[in-house]
């Protein structure tokens, strides 16, 4: 499954800063085609900023992001647009359009990029919404009528709307109940296996890390201090990594998988 393949996304020597506050400095990261890669790091270490930089919402102050070996910052608009239409992004807060219902939210990218008939679009949107585990009453609700976890699911449905090749997920299981989180994990894995997706997940959910991530990147000291399959990370003796996985929750998740 996780046969070594060419990197799809490469972050090289990335530096980002807000004013004088440097978030990343000399950060390198490779995302391989078809893998599920997790990103962990303490709160405020810049995980969301890294994701936003990788999808081109924030310009790097130094360094460059490469897709298939092509620099994101140097692409022509048309090439960039074609690339973006193969991405699905779930933001940390869901970022649903508050004036649209959940169904219209999921249909929004389809309307923009396809010429599907309206009735089929509606059905496809309802299918994606059901796939993410929302009930049949959800499609006609407005985002403000949903709970935090439901908004996450609706956001995922929108990210999946165009069956993207690359999924960027920012803390997808935060706010979900454990059953929902497990279903989320298995959906992501199933989609990856069936569609050959590449998935980049920012997460603090140790179960997700153990259950579905092929590799895990650790963000600390403004860069990726380690990128490895989780079993290797457990052997790593970086103090933050030891504390992260060696703490009571880390041990519990590890045992759950072993047992």
């Amino acid at each position: 499954m996780s046969a070594v393949s060419a990197p799809l996304i490469e972050v090289r020597g990335l530096k980002t800063a807000f004013g004088t506050h440097v978030v990343h400095d000399g950060l390198n990261l490779e995302v391989r085609r078809g893998e599920i890669i997790g990103l962990v790091g303490g709160s405020g270490t810049g995980k969301s900023v890294l994701m936003n930089t990788m999808i081109g919402l924030k310009r790097p102050d130094a360094g460059e992001i490469f897709y298939n070996g092509r620099a994101l910052g140097k692409m022509a608009d048309s090439e960039r647009a074609r690339l973006e239409s193969h991405w699905g992004v779930l933001f940390q807060g869901g970022a649903l359009f508050s004036a649209l219902t959940v169904r219209e939210n999921v249909m929004a990218p389809m309307r923009e990029h396809t010429d599907l008939p309206r009735s089929l679009m509606t059905e496809l949107a309802d299918m994606k919404i059901a796939l993410t585990g929302l009930g049949p009453e959800a499609p006609s609700k407005f985002p403000s009528e949903l709970s935090g976890g439901m908004r996450k699911r609706a956001g995922l449905a929108r990210a999946l709307a165009l069956d993207p090749d690359v999924l960027f997920l920012d803390e997808p299981t935060a706010g979900l109940d454990p059953i929902g989180a497990a279903a989320f994990d298995s959906l992501i894995r199933e989609l990856r296996d069936a569609l050959g997706l590449t998935v980049f997940i920012v997460t603090h959910d140790l179960d997700t890390l153990f259950a579905i991530c092929d590799r895990v990147a650790v963000l600390a000291e403004k860069r990726c201090v380690a990128v490895a399959p989780i079993d290797e990370l457990l052997q790593n003796d970086h103090p933050w990594i030891r504390e992260y996985f060696g703490g009571p929750r880390g041990r519990a998740a590890h045992q759950a998988r072993e047992g």
């Binding site: 994606k128 796939l131 069956d163 069936a194």
Partner: protein, 379 residues
Amino acid sequence: MSDVAAGLTIEEEGGRVILVPTGDWIVDTIARFASEIARIDHDIDPGRVSIDLSGIERIDTAGAYLLARPIHRARDGVTEQHFRGDHATARRLIQLVLEKAINSEPEVEDRRFGFIQAAGRIGAGLEAAWKEMIATFAFFGHAITSFASTSARPWRFRMTPIFAVMEVAGVNALPIIAVLSFFIGAVVAYMGANLLETFGASVFTVELVGIAVLREFGVLITAIMLAGRSDSAFTAAIGSMKMQQEIDAMRVLGIDPYEALVIPRIVACVIMAPLLTFAAMIAGIVGGLLVCWSALDISPQFFVTRIHDSVPIQNFWVGMSKAPVFGAIIAIIGCKQGLDVGGDVESLGRHVTASVVQSIFMVIIVDALFAMMYLELGI
């Protein structure tokens, strides 16, 4: 990425209908087949349909959904007999889509138009307007009691926000209000000069400018500018706090949102409106004075003396007396609309609009009431 054109052929074999999809069945390519598939779904017993997977190149969940549609209603479930040929992932995707998704029929919206619907809408609109009015009065009452209870404990007045609003809504509005009022004063003077000259009574332009600006224009321009400028800001600020649940957080933390958000704005507007009105009056009279000087050769000294002698001071007090009332109306409507904002951006926009429209409307209505009152009082 090889975009192999998608195709679909339909074969009949031994009483079964066989769908043979070819090429890429992905979201970008399947639009053409929607009606064909819908027809098969509608016409043909799902038990008799099979899908030949061997010609498919790439497939995604949208393609899988479309292929699954003619078979999803099969009475004894989807089984071996529904598939022919092999594909690395298609079968699995179709199963995934079938088991997780196709469970609900899309609901049909009621989209009828007609006389009864139109009448219904008018009725609903009127009822909403009536309820809105009652709610505004209730808010008014709430604000007043809140103000009274704070006045009993004056140290609870929040000075910092009061001064902040006084600066933003008041001091910063001074230049634009003064400029507008200056030009209105000038326009009134031109009109007067033109009309009164035909009677040889152009010297009365001074009275015209004095009375119009002091009694009405100074305070009206101030109120309208406050409504357009500060009301929208109040509604937007309080409304976005409401959207982010900040108001709920305040309540839970024991902070009364009326005391923290509404009272400071009302107090600031009630204090600033008369001061701005005074500035507007001065600017308006200066506008009139300059026009009289340049167009009618009435010297500034004469203008000032004449205003002093022949424009009764009541006019000034009439104008000034309205200012705090208008200030209060504007602040109350702005805060009320802000607190009414719901969860979405659309409602924020709607309430900002409503806030500006309602406050200008109310200012003009109340101004008319004042005019009637002062007429009866003979002032």
